[in-house]
């Protein structure tokens, strides 16, 4: 990276004991609810697969539990510091991300036409890329201040950062993940107060590249074509979406009952990962789906609230970035399952089976909870104002 990054070092990042536990309990509760619900669904959708593959019905559940445990541990560690310490690591995390994405392209384990994972697929760098990009852009924009309105400092640098990350992800290929990263970056750029001309250029160019890739990458083009058919007749949906719709439809209002679904036993591929929302619809019905959506909405609202109450621009952008990342991703997942957008594989945060996704999402929540303590900080008039960064 050629961009200069000014890192303001502080002497200490210890958290004042008085506000140590003054984080947003509601966010914690909503995520905990999603997590417990998700673990339940992981067991529900994998017990027989675990039995088939590993002779252990708890195999996948245990792996997910370990990932959740690691994520929670990560959260607790993060909570020991003031989140501004993360500024020191923005560049490092970005370098690790870019390095692992690059490494992946050359040495990754190719699985079914795409190269997305390392270490027997247990680590997927593109998941880290989401959080790394948010951390980096929040740090970078907040340190630039008004200068992001400048064409060279703002637009060009922004495009290079986002462009490189997205380029590497598209190479896997994982177009939708790249699109998600671009969308999060764009949101941050937008709320940071970029000029409308810049937004128009970024949006226009980025959007054009995305549409171009979507229509030219063979598997993406096929999915878009199939999706256009679906708009006319849902019966023409691609297999996964059709089976997902069958699951949602057979669930009806109350669902067929937890554990009673049949779509997970083969008909719906990836029922425990990207397709889990359909199984929730089948077994717990519209009610179950609405509960999950309500929890996700509530989590998003708390996240946005935390962003608004953050004590500086960095906290604001970081909180906002993490919140929109999880919200966009959930929205994309549910939109795919309901055939609202072309088919693509995106996990549902905290619910889909997947270690890296779970771990990184929980780290994101850890950072959000950390930022949520700013509200308590602001309430204490006698407190010295924290050092302004950038």
């Amino acid at each position: 990276m050629t961009t200069t990054v000014r890192v303001v070092r502080q002497k200490t990042h210890r958290v004042l004991p008085a506000i140590r536990l003054r984080f947003d309990v509601w966010l914690l509760l909503s995520v905990a609810a999603l997590l417990v619900f998700g673990l339940m669904m992981v067991y529900d959708t994998t017990f027989d697969l675990g039995l088939l593959v590993q002779d252990n019905p708890l195999h996948y559940f245990q792996r997910q539990l370990v990932a959740a445990g690691l994520g929670i541990t990560g959260c607790i560690i993060l909570m020991q510091f003031d989140y501004h310490i993360l500024r020191r690591f923005s560049v490092l995390v970005m370098i690790v991300t870019l390095a692992s994405l690059t490494f992946l392209l050359f040495f990754g384990e190719s699985n079914f036409g795409a190269t997305r994972g390392l270490l027997e697929n247990s680590y997927q760098p593109s998941e880290l890329a989401k959080l790394a990009t948010i951390m980096y852009i929040a740090h970078w924009i907040s340190s630039k201040g008004e200068r992001i309105k400048d064409l060279t400092y703002g637009l060009l640098a922004f495009s290079v950062i986002t462009g490189v990350v997205c380029f590497l992800i598209v190479q896997q290929p994982a177009l939708s993940t790249a699109g998600l990263v671009a969308l999060i970056s764009f949101t941050l750029f937008f709320v940071a107060g970029a000029e409308w001309k810049q937004l128009a250029i970024v949006g226009g160019v980025g959007g054009s590249i995305f549409v171009f890739l979507m229509l030219t990458l063979p598997h993406a083009a096929a999915r878009v074509g199939a999706w256009r058919e679906v708009l006319r007749d849902p019966n023409q949906a691609v297999w996964q979406v059709r089976q997902a719709l069958i699951a949602l439809g057979s669930g009806g209002f109350w669902g067929v009952g937890l554990g009673e679904g049949v779509q997970k036993f083969g008909p719906l591929p990836a029922a425990h990962t990207d397709g889990v929302f359909a199984i929730i619809g089948e077994e717990l019905g519209l009610v179950g789906c609405l509960v999950v959506i309500a929890l996700l909405l509530f989590m998003t609202w708390r996240g946005l609230r935390i962003a608004r109450k953050a004590r500086d621009n960095y906290g604001f952008l970081l909180a906002l970035g993490i919140t929109v990342w999880l919200a966009y991703q959930a929205l994309m997942n549910i939109a795919v399952i309901t055939a609202t957008i072309p088919f693509t594989g995106v996990p549902l945060p905290f619910i889909s089976y997947g270690g890296t996704s779970m771990l990184i999402s929980l780290l994101g929540i850890g950072i959000l909870l950390n930022i949520s303590r700013d509200e308590a900080l602001a309430g204490r008039a006698s407190m010295p104002q924290p050092v302004k960064n950038g």
Binding site: V53, G113, D233, P234, V238
Partner: protein, 471 residues
């Protein structure tokens, strides 16, 4: 010289298979005795056909004296090993055999054998089509169609033989095909095999006698089939609709993959012309069988995208006024109906009925209620099924019909009629464009027909009649 030359062979049963074996044995110089419980009058036609062969007939009974001086006893699939005559033969050390076993002993072509509790016929037929698509001369038979022993002399080493093998046939086998597949094992035919262990044991003969250069193909999703992996002596290949297996065929990300050192996409799930999730497993099995026999991927793909099914097995008869009529007359048990129900996502009008063989209908009631917009009941079962449906609470669901622009919400109802003719007419009146009328009776055909084929053929004619009325 043939192993049977000069031997005295007793053939029980003068049906399709017995007839073919008798003709073959006589031709290779065995001394052939055929015994059938039916009288000479009833068998006059068959006797006439075999009049050119030197065969001794014992009709109307199977006397124990048949076994005197016999070397080999050939039995047909329908006969139980518990029968006193067979028990006596085993005691005397007489070799048991059947036509498919005798064929396997002499077959020099590439031999493929398929067994399982469900999906055998479809997989066998599809594998045959794959082989044909590759330009190989292909013989499909076994449990279905013409007994292959009749064509033995016409087969060459480059030909491909695909056999569907039932547990009855395999029970007495002492030889396994070069490529063998076990699709699944669920409790079935327990009236005949007595225990599940005996049933599994019989099926296992398809790979028990294989050598190191043979190939065994097993379902990774089915615990019964998978449990046979300990018996595999040659190369083992698995197929799974659930997860990527180490070596074999599987579904991943909406595509069928063939893994054989490297990963290759065979086709997407949407390209499979056969309907229903259960057929995906059959496609995977056929793909592996064909690949093991050296059939190129291109031919495999072409067969999958073109093969539309076997007669009377979820066979699309015709589309009249936008309504698809499906003939699944083979469905003589509720489980088969469930497989059919899960194969369609359109609004369903189910034609159900026939004669019951004391089956369990609970899941049928549940699935019919959640998936069908209407049920037309006919035959002996109609009354019982109507009561069962009425007894379970709630109306029929609107099915899983997805809202499309100009479709009215379907009206749920149960209609009772007497005959299949009335049933088809009732269904035609109930249906609107976009629906599927599915004949998947769940009961046997013996209340009004000789067999399921006659029932299916009548259904076809009735549907053709509907089409003619419209034009």
């Amino acid at each position: 010289m043939d192993p049977l030359t000069g031997k005295r062979i007793i053939i029980l049963g003068l049906a399709r298979q017995g007839k073919a074996l008798a003709r073959f044995a006589a031709a290779v110089g065995a001394s052939v005795v055929v015994s059938d419980l039916r009288s000479p009058e009833k068998l006059a036609g068959v006797l006439q056909e075999l009049s050119d062969c030197e065969i001794e007939f014992v009709l109307g009974d199977h006397p124990l004296s048949l076994l005197d001086g016999a070397d080999v006893l050939a039995i047909s699939g329908g006969v139980s090993l518990e029968m006193p005559l067979i028990q006596e033969a085993i005691k005397r050390g007489i070799t048991l055999t059947n036509d498919s076993q005798e064929f396997m002993r002499r077959c020099t072509a590439e031999s493929i054998g398929i067994t399982g509790s469900a999906g055998k016929t479809t997989t066998t037929a599809l594998t045959g089509v794959m082989s044909q698509m590759a330009g190989r001369r292909t013989w499909v038979g076994g449990n279905i169609g013409r007994p292959l022993i009749a064509d033995l002399d016409k087969m060459g080493e480059e030909d491909v033989v695909v056999q569907e093998l039932s547990s009855f046939q395999l029970e007495i086998w002492q030889q396994s095909p070069h490529i063998a597949a076990v699709l699944n094992i669920t409790p079935n035919h327990l009236d005949r095999h007595k225990t599940m262990a005996a049933y599994v044991d019989a099926k296992a003969n398809i790979l028990r006698f294989q050598a190191e250069d043979d190939v065994a193909i097993l379902s990774a999703d089915d615990p019964g089939a998978r449990s046979m992996s300990s018996l595999v002596k040659g190369r083992m290949r698995l197929f799974s609709t659930r997860y990527p297996v180490k070596e074999g065929a599987f579904v991943h990300a909406g595509q069928i993959w063939l893994r054989n050192g490297k990963d290759q996409v065979v086709c997407t799930l949407d390209e499979i012309r056969l309907r229903g999730p259960h057929n995906v497993a059959n496609v995977l099995a056929a793909t592996l069988l064909a690949d093991s026999a050296g059939i190129p991927l291109e031919a495999i793909r072409k067969a999958i995208t073109n093969f539309g099914g076997v007669e009377h097995r979820m066979e699309l008869v015709d589309t009249v006024n936008g309504v698809q009529y499906i003939n699944d007359s083979i469905a003589t048990a509720p489980e088969r109906v469930l497989a059919a129900l899960s194969s369609y996502h359109e609004p369903l009008i189910l034609l159900a009925g026939g004669r019951d063989k004391n089956m369990v209908w609970d899941e049928w009631v549940r699935q019919v209620k959640s998936r069908c917009k209407a049920v037309v009941l006919f035959g002996e079962l109609a009354e019982m099924l109507a009561e069962r449906l009425a007894a379970s609470r709630g109306p029929l669901a609107a099915g899983i019909s997805l809202p499309t622009a100009n479709r009215q919400p379907p009206t749920a109802q149960i209609v009772r009629v007497n005959t299949l003719v009335e049933a088809v007419n009732a269904a035609a009146n109930l249906s609107i464009s976009g629906d599927i009328v599915l004949l998947s009776p769940g009961g046997t055909s013996y209340d009004a027909f000789t067999d399921f084929e006659e029932r299916g053929n009548l259904f076809r004619e009735l549907v053709k009649g509907l089409g003619d009325q419209e034009t």
